[in-house]
Amino acid sequence: MAFYADKDYTQDEASLEAANQVMQGNLSLHWYDANTEKIKGKPADLRRGLTYQDLDIGSYGYSSIPEHVRNSQSMVARGSEKWGKLPDMGYVINRKSEIWSDNVTSLYEEDKARRWTPAVDVPWIELDARPLPAELEAACAQLYTFLQECALVSLDFSSRWVSLVNQDFIEQKSWMCAQMLGWARLNEAFRKRALYGGAGLKRASVAAEQGLKEWLFADTFPQGSFSINLSLGGFVLAVCRQVAAFAPSRVDRALMGYAMQDTARQTAYGYGQLRYFLQHRPLEANAMQEYADETEHVMLALMGNPELLEPLIIIAGGGLEKDQVRNGRIAVSKFIRLVAREYFERIEAAGLEGRSRRSRIPALVDRIEVPA
């Protein structure tokens, strides 16, 4: 056991007697006049229902969370009265700038409103009516094998940190749970797509997994969020857009249409978190640049590995004939440029100025470019 409660409640006569008194009808009502604020929540827009934004009121609101959460280390819900010997949960993220993004609550509400169900929202049976040629189906199987690796590590990232975040950040923790559910849903969709097509799963990517493990185990949340939410999220978003644009079937187009919405939300949080962090901790920009210097190579492990590039080429070209592969290579070359351009756009807009000039990525992208 890592923790023992302050007493064994089966042995505590005082606790049993208190319960007995209540059940005898002698209510204490000591909670009735709790020293808390009385408010009345009201939906700003009935079409949207009652949202967390509607409850951003007084001491209950997230706007009033200070940068340093000093006196709240138990699991008490923000705004309730603290009394007695509440346990110290040992949270390690107690600074708002380390975790917060101004879009957290809207992303959380949006995530729930725009949820989808892979089991029924993807027209699976169309693959029965119009099966893909074997080489295209195999390429899809490899692609969706790769994407599962991305989804699973992203799920792990939120789950690795959520229990370490101070309970005062209720909306943030709720968003992290939504992120986990979102990545679980994407993993489900990618897995079902691969297995429904009949080609099974294909090969794992050593380069991607080595790199993703480096990102997953970043020392701090802002660093890991920069890598997983912003960089990986933006990368998977671009893959979804690419596959939707060259979709070999209506199934792939529908799936990627939903998937791009989910991954765009992850990216939006990653962007917002990095921006919030750097706005409130400008002196940390150099350290973040150095972190990017060290770990940015993973971008190349992701977008340069054959387990991704080859299926993307076959899908974009439509097959394995010489002309198809040539067309596919050109399309994937444009995709790599797009990934790199948008990656630098996001992180520079978030506050890491001059990143594209400092980075090794642009020169390496030049080396694998295919002229149109």
Binding site: S106, E110, R115, Q261, T267, Y271
Partner: protein, 146 residues
């Protein structure tokens, strides 16, 4: 009655269809974005600003120029590309994968997405299913092209 493209009346007709089919859009979830549509023709452009809120198109207006600070993103392209998309939607009931907004704008070679903030740009993808479904309602309109 036919509506012309591009025009405010075209987008208002889509807005009315969207309201009539609100249940479908409710299933897709909130759509909270304001974006521009720019249509080029013979060296001139016509510019529209579309403001979506919750499940509906709250407002549409034609403007002389789109202020990038006041929109999340702008989709721009020649009238011919827009026409091809709308005619494809009319033929198929919805855009096929060669003619949807994602494909046409993917490499910026047919339609182009311009934006000031990457966060605004990403909203196109956060709400893509609703935005595409909105344009797919063109299948229920009689559209003539200016």
């Amino acid at each position: 009655m036919a509506v012309s493209f591009p025009s405010t009346e075209y987008f208002e007709a889509l807005r009315d269809r969207m309201a009539a089919e609100q249940e479908k859009f409710r299933r897709l979830g909130f759509i909270d974005t304001t974006f521009g549509v720019r249509v080029g023709h013979n060296g001139k452009t016509r510019n529209f600003v579309l403001e979506f809120e919750v499940f509906e198109l709250k407002g549409v207006r034609e403007v002389d120029a789109i202020d990038p600070q006041k929109v999340d993103f702008t989709i721009e392209g020649d009238a011919g590309v827009w026409r091809e998309m709308i005619e494809n939607i009319h033929r198929n009931g919805e855009a096929d994968s060669s003619h949807d907004i994602n494909t046409l704008a993917h490499f910026g070679e047919q339609l182009k997405v311009v934006y000031d903030s990457p966060d605004g740009h990403d909203k196109l993808y956060r709400f893509m299913e609703s935005i595409q479904r909105f344009f797919d309602l063109s299948s229920k309109l009689d559209v003539r092209f200016n």
